[in-house]
C-alpha cells in the first residue's frame, strides 16, 4: 500500500491505496467521483479525461501513484457548486450533450485547451478534442460551444 497526497478539485487530499491501480480507479472507486468514465481502457476514447496540472490526460493510462504532488481536476471540480462554468453552460446552450457519457472528458479537454490557448481557431478546437470520441453529436455543437466560450472569455 502507498499513501498519496495531492490536490483534488481544489482540496488537499491524502489516501492510502494499492500501488498498481489506475488513476481512473482511484477517482471512481476511492473518491466516488463517478463523473469520470471508462469507455475503452486503452486511451482511445477520452471518456476518462481529467486535468493533471492543467493538462488533459487519459486517467485510464495514468497510474494512481503518478498523482503524488499533482493538482487533479475532474468534472466534479469544474462547476462551482450548482453554478456552471461558462464552458458547461455553453455545452448545454448549444446542444453539445446527448447521451452525456463522453461529456465530462470532452469538457475537461476543452477546459485544458482554453486554459492554454484562450483564443483557439476551429482547427485547434478540433485538435484538442480529437482524442475524445463521441458517437451521438457529430461534434459540431461541441465545437460551437467551445468557440462561444472562448469568445465570451475574450470579452471578459
Amino acid at each position: 500500500m502507498i499513501t498519496l497526497k495531492f490536490i483534488l478539485n481544489g482540496k488537499e487530499v491524502s489516501i492510502t491505496t494499492e500501488p498498481h491501480i489506475r488513476l481512473l480507479d482511484l477517482l471512481r472507486d476511492k473518491f466516488d467521483l463517478t463523473g469520470t468514465k471508462e469507455g475503452c481502457g486503452v486511451g482511445e476514447c477520452g471518456a476518462c479525461t481529467v486535468l493533471m496540472n492543467g493538462r488533459a490526460v487519459n486517467s485510464c493510462l495514468a497510474l494512481a501513484a503518478q498523482v503524488e504532488g499533482y493538482e487533479i481536476v475532474t468534472i466534479e471540480g469544474i462547476s462551482n457548486g450548482d453554478v456552471l462554468s461558462p464552458l458547461q453552460k455553453n455545452f448545454l446552450l448549444h446542444g453539445a450533450v446527448q447521451c452525456g457519457f463522453c461529456t465530462p472528458g470532452m469538457v475537461l479537454s476543452a477546459a485544458a485547451l482554453l486554459d492554454q490557448t484562450p483564443n483557439p481557431t476551429e482547427e485547434e478546437i478540433k485538435d484538442a478534442i480529437a482524442g475524445n470520441l463521441c458517437r451521438c453529436t457529430g461534434y459540431k455543437q461541441i465545437v460551437d460551444a467551445i468557440k462561444e466560450t472562448a469568445k465570451e472569455l475574450q470579452v471578459k
Partner: protein, 793 residues
C-alpha cells in the same frame, strides 16, 4: 414552423443536461450497492465448437469465488431471443460465435475473477465454420441451429407487376452487386447492469438498458418469475443506437440468475473488448440489383436479391430484413418489382437492430444504381430521381397508396440541390473516365503510368441520395405508447413515459409537448425515473418512434388534464358555454374575458375541488396490414423523406476521402426541439460518414479483429467538416401535431451520397463499403491475416 406554438420548434436545453454536464448523472456502472459482487464471463476462442465438458475443479473452492453460474442454474427458459428463442443465456452444448458465454464466476474482486476464469478448463471440439453468408444455404453447409432445419432465418419477398415482362419492355438494363460491412454501434458507454435480489419481491435491475420492458419480459422468463416480480430501472444510458437491446436483456438475465443464487447484488460490466466481442452489430448485406429503364429514365422493372448475414442468432433479423424488403426499391414508383431478402445464420457475430434497421444497406445499393442509370443515359442525378420519385397518391412497391401526409420527396430534393448548388458542381466535377489507376498486385511497384500530377492529386466531387422511411414499427407488431402526467397544486408537473431516454433527447421532447399543451414551460416538468413498475409497457424505444408514438401519448395525457382544468375554469369563473379557454405562458385566458387566472391558481383550485389531475395518456398507431405471402400491404401508416448532398475531396494517391460538406434536408414532420433535431442530424450524418468511409468489423476464422477503438475507427472531430441541417416540415395528422421521425433517416442515406460524390470525383464506381484507402486505391479490402491483439485472448 407553425407560428401558433409557444415552445414547440424552439431550441430547448436538455432536461437532463445539468446532471450530465456536472458529472452527476448516474450511468449503470456508477451505481454501487452494499455487499455487491461482480460477475465475469467464461468464453472460448472459437466461433463454432461442441462443448464436451467444463472443469472448474482448480478454482471451485477458491475463496474469491462466491458462485459459479452455468446453464444448470437457470431456473426458467435456457434460450431466449427477441423473435426466436435461439440464444442460450449460458451455452452448454455448443458455441456458435466467439462472444458466446459458457459460465460466469461471481465474487467480490473483479480482477481476481478475471484471473481465475482462465483456469476453468473447457474441453471442446471445433466444428466446421460458416463465415460466408452466401454459402450458408448450400446443401452441404453444416447447420448452426439444427432444430431450425436450415440456416435460413427468414425469407421475405415483395412482388408487384411482372419484372420479366418489364425487362422485355425496357430500353436499357443494368445489373450490379453491392456489399456493406459488419458495423459496431460503438456507443461510448460499454454495457453494465446490476441485479439486486428482493426476496419474495423478486429482483430489481438497474442497467444500461435500451428497452426496459423487453428486458423485463426476458429476465422474468429466465428466472421463472411473473412480470411484477421483475423491476427494471434504466440508468442514464451512454448511447445505444439500437445496440443495448438483446445484449442487455441477456446480461440482465445473467445478473438476475447470479443475484438470486448468491443472494447479493451482482454487477456485470463489460470492457470495450467484451462489448465488441459479444454485442450484436449491423447486418452485412450482399445485394444484387437488376434494373430495366426507358430512354427517358423511367424505371420499368427492378429485381432485387439480398442476402443478409444474421450471424449466429436470429435476433431482430426477421424485422430488419422486413424493412429492407419494403423499402429496397427506394422512394420511387416502379411498375414491376420483385424483391427477395433472405437472412441467414453464420458463425459471425450476430446482427440485429442498429440505427437505420435494414435501410442503410439497400439505400447504398439503390442510390448508387440511380446515379449509374443517370450516367448511362447522360442525364443528371436530379433528373433521374424526379422522373421516378414518389409523389402524393403514388403506389409503393408493396401496393400502398401514399396519402394522408405530404409526400415531400421532390421538395427535400429541390431544397437540397438549391442549398448545395448541386447541378453546377456536379457537371463541373464530372469525370468521363476513371482517374484512379489500375493496380497490379503481381508487380506492386508504382509504374510511370501511375504517376499523378500534384495538382491532380485532390479531386472534388459532389453526390446526392434520397430516401423515404416508414415511421415506427409498421406491420412488425403492436404499436402503442403510454405517458403518465401528474399536475401538482402549484402548477409543476411530473411526467413519465413507457419509452426510454437513450441520449437522443426524448425526455426533453416529451417535456416540450406537455408544456405546449398546458401552456407552461418545459422547465416546470420533472421527468421521472424510467421504471417498469411505474408505467405501462409502451413497446421498445426503436424505429425512430418515440417522438411520434410517445409524443402522441404525452399530448393525449396533457389534453385530458387541460380539459379537466378548462372545465373548472368555465365553472368557477362563470364563463359561457361557447367561450374558449386557453393556456399560455402560465396564464389562463378566456376568449371573451381575456386573462382569467394564473395556471398555478387553477391547479390549486382543482386540488381544492378534489379534481384528479393525474392521468395516463395513450397513443395507438393507426392500423397497418401486411400479407407476408403476397408481399403486399400498407406497411407503415406514414413516411418521412430526406435528401443529403455530399461534397468530398478524394486524394487519388492515398485513397483518402475527406467529407467537406453534407447538406442534410429532412422532412421529419413538425420539429419539436430544434436544438435536439439538429443534434440528430449532426450525429446521424457523422455515423453515416463513418459507415461510408472506414468503419467495419472483420473476422478471421470467425474471431473479430477490431476489438477496441484503436482498430475499430469511428469518426473523430477531425473527420467531417461542415454539416448543414435543413428541415422541411411536412404536414401530418399523427402523433403530437404531426411530429414524426428523424433519428434514423439522418444516417441511412449518408453513405450513398458520399459514394456518389466519390464517383463524381474520380470517375469510378465503388460497390463495396467502406470506401477506405485501399478500396479507393486498390479496389479491394486489406486485412491482417492473424488476430493478435486486445485484452481478450
Amino acid at each position: 414552423m407553425n407560428k401558433e406554438f409557444s415552445v414547440v420548434g424552439k431550441r430547448v436545453i436538455r432536461e437532463d443536461g445539468f446532471d450530465k454536464i456536472t458529472g452527476r448523472a448516474k450511468f449503470a456502472d456508477d451505481y454501487k450497492f452494499d455487499g455487491m459482487l461482480y460477475a465475469v464471463m467464461l468464453r472460448i476462442p472459437s466461433a463454432h465448437a461442441k462443448i464436451n465438458s467444463i472443469d472448474f475443479s482448480e478454482i471451485e473452492n477458491n475463496e474469491a469465488i462466491s458462485a459459479i453460474i452455468t446453464s444448470a442454474d437457470v431456473p426458467g427458459i435456457k434460450k431466449t431471443g427477441l423473435i426466436k428463442n435461439d440464444q442460450p443465456i449460458f451455452c452448454d452444448e455448443k458455441v456458435v460465435t466467439p462472444g458466446d458465454v459458457l459460465a460466469m464466476l461471481v465474487g467480490n474482486s473483479e480482477n481476481e475473477l478475471r484471473n481465475l476464469v482462465k483456469k476453468a478448463k473447457v474441453d471442446y471440439t471445433e466444428l466446421p465454420l460458416i463465415t460466408d453468408p452466401a454459402k450458408a444455404l448450400d446443401q452441404e453447409a453444416i447447420l448452426i441451429h439444427p432444430d431450425n432445419g436450415s440456416n435460413l432465418i427468414v425469407n421475405h419477398h415483395v412482388k408487384k407487376g411482372d419484372v420479366e415482362k418489364g425487362f422485355e419492355k425496357s430500353d436499357h438494363i443494368l445489373e450490379q452487386t453491392y456489399t456493406t460491412p459488419l458495423i459496431e454501434h460503438a456507443y461510448i458507454e460499454p454495457e453494465a447492469v446490476t441485479a439486486i435480489p428482493l426476496g419474495f419481491n423478486g429482483v430489481k435491475i438497474i442497467g444500461s438498458i435500451q428497452n426496459p420492458f423487453t428486458a423485463r419480459r426476458i429476465v422474468a422468463a429466465v428466472i421463472n418469475l411473473p412480470l411484477d416480480k421483475v423491476q427494471i430501472i434504466q440508468a442514464h444510458l451512454g448511447g445505444s443506437f439500437g445496440g443495448k437491446d438483446d445484449t442487455m436483456c441477456i446480461l440482465s438475465a445473467r445478473a438476475a440468475v447470479a443475484a438470486l443464487k448468491a443472494n447479493c447484488p451482482v454487477k456485470i460490466r463489460y470492457t470495450r473488448e467484451e462489448s465488441i466481442l459479444e454485442s450484436y452489430k449491423r447486418h452485412p448485406y450482399i445485394m444484387n440489383y437488376k434494373v430495366g429503364f426507358s430512354n427517358s429514365g423511367k424505371i420499368i422493372a427492378m429485381k432485387i436479391n439480398i442476402i443478409a448475414d444474421g450471424g449466429a442468432y436470429a435476433s431482430m433479423s426477421p424485422f430488419v430484413t422486413w424493412r429492407s424488403v419494403v423499402q429496397a426499391t427506394g422512394p420511387y414508383e416502379i411498375e414491376n418489382v420483385h424483391t427477395e431478402v433472405r437472412a441467414v445464420y453464420t458463425n459471425n457475430p450476430y446482427t440485429g437492430a442498429m440505427r437505420g434497421f435494414g435501410s442503410p444497406q439497400p439505400i447504398f445499393a439503390n442510390e448508387s444504381l440511380m446515379d449509374e442509370i443517370a450516367i448511362h443515359l447522360g442525364i443528371s442525378p436530379v433528373e433521374i430521381r424526379k422522373v421516378n420519385a414518389l409523389k402524393n397518391g403514388s403506389i409503393t412497391a408493396t401496393g400502398q397508396k401514399l396519402e394522408n401526409h405530404d409526400v415531400n420527396l421532390i421538395q427535400v430534393l429541390d431544397k437540397a440541390i438549391y442549398a448545395a448548388d448541386f447541378q453546377n458542381k456536379w457537371r463541373a466535377n464530372k469525370k468521363e473516365k476513371p482517374l484512379t489507376k489500375e493496380f497490379d498486385f503481381n508487380n506492386p511497384v508504382l509504374q510511370d503510368y501511375q504517376y499523378v500530377e500534384p495538382d491532380k492529386l485532390i479531386q472534388k466531387g459532389i453526390g446526392l441520395a434520397v430516401s423515404y422511411r416508414g415511421c415506427s414499427l409498421g406491420a412488425e407488431g403492436i404499436d402503442t405508447a403510454s405517458a403518465y402526467l401528474s399536475i401538482q397544486n402549484d402548477g409543476t408537473v411530473y411526467l413519465l413515459s413507457g419509452l426510454a431516454e437513450n441520449g437522443q433527447g426524448m425526455r426533453t421532447t416529451f417535456a416540450i409537448i406537455a408544456a405546449e399543451a398546458l401552456g407552461i414551460l418545459p422547465e416546470q416538468i420533472f421527468y421521472l425515473e424510467t421504471d417498469t413498475s411505474r408505467i405501462p409497457d409502451s413497446g421498445p424505444t426503436v424505429a425512430s418512434r418515440s417522438t411520434l408514438m410517445g409524443g402522441g401519448a404525452v399530448r393525449n395525457a396533457a389534453e385530458i388534464l387541460s380539459g379537466r382544468l378548462k372545465k373548472i375554469v368555465k365553472e368557477e369563473f362563470k364563463l359561457s358555454e361557447e367561450d374558449v379557454v386557453s393556456f399560455r405562458e402560465n396564464l389562463v385566458f378566456s376568449r371573451k374575458k381575456g386573462l382569467t387566472a394564473k395556471f398555478s391558481e387553477v391547479c390549486k383550485l382543482a386540488y381544492s375541488l378534489g379534481i384528479n389531475l393525474a392521468t395516463i395518456g395513450y397513443y395507438k398507431s393507426p392500423s397497418v396490414h401486411w400479407d407476408e405471402k403476397s408481399g403486399h400491404g400498407d406497411a407503415y401508416f406514414t413516411y418521412v423523406y430526406g435528401c443529403q448532398v455530399a461534397e468530398v475531396s478524394v486524394n487519388i494517391g492515398t485513397g483518402e476521402v475527406y467529407v467537406n460538406k453534407i447538406t442534410a434536408v429532412h422532412d421529419p414532420g413538425t420539429v419539436i426541439n430544434k436544438l435536439g433535431a439538429e443534434g440528430q442530424v449532426y450525429g446521424g450524418v457523422t455515423q453515416g460518414a463513418g459507415y461510408a468511409l472506414f468503419e467495419g468489423i472483420t473476422t478471421e476464422k470467425g474471431l473479430i479483429r477490431e476489438l477496441n477503438f484503436d482498430q475499430y475507427l469511428i469518426p473523430t472531430s477531425k473527420d467531417i467538416d461542415v454539416i448543414k441541417p435543413v428541415f422541411v416540415e411536412g404536414k401530418d395528422s399523427y402523433g403530437a401535431w404531426g411530429a414524426k421521425s428523424l433519428g434514423e433517416p439522418t444516417l441511412e442515406l449518408t453513405a450513398a451520397a458520399i459514394s456518389n460524390a466519390v464517383r463524381n470525383a474520380v470517375g469510378k464506381r465503388f460497390f463495396n463499403l467502406p470506401l477506405n484507402l485501399e478500396e479507393i486505391v486498390l479496389g479491394k479490402k486489406l486485412c491482417p491475416q492473424e488476430v493478435k491483439r486486445g485484452s481478450l485472448q
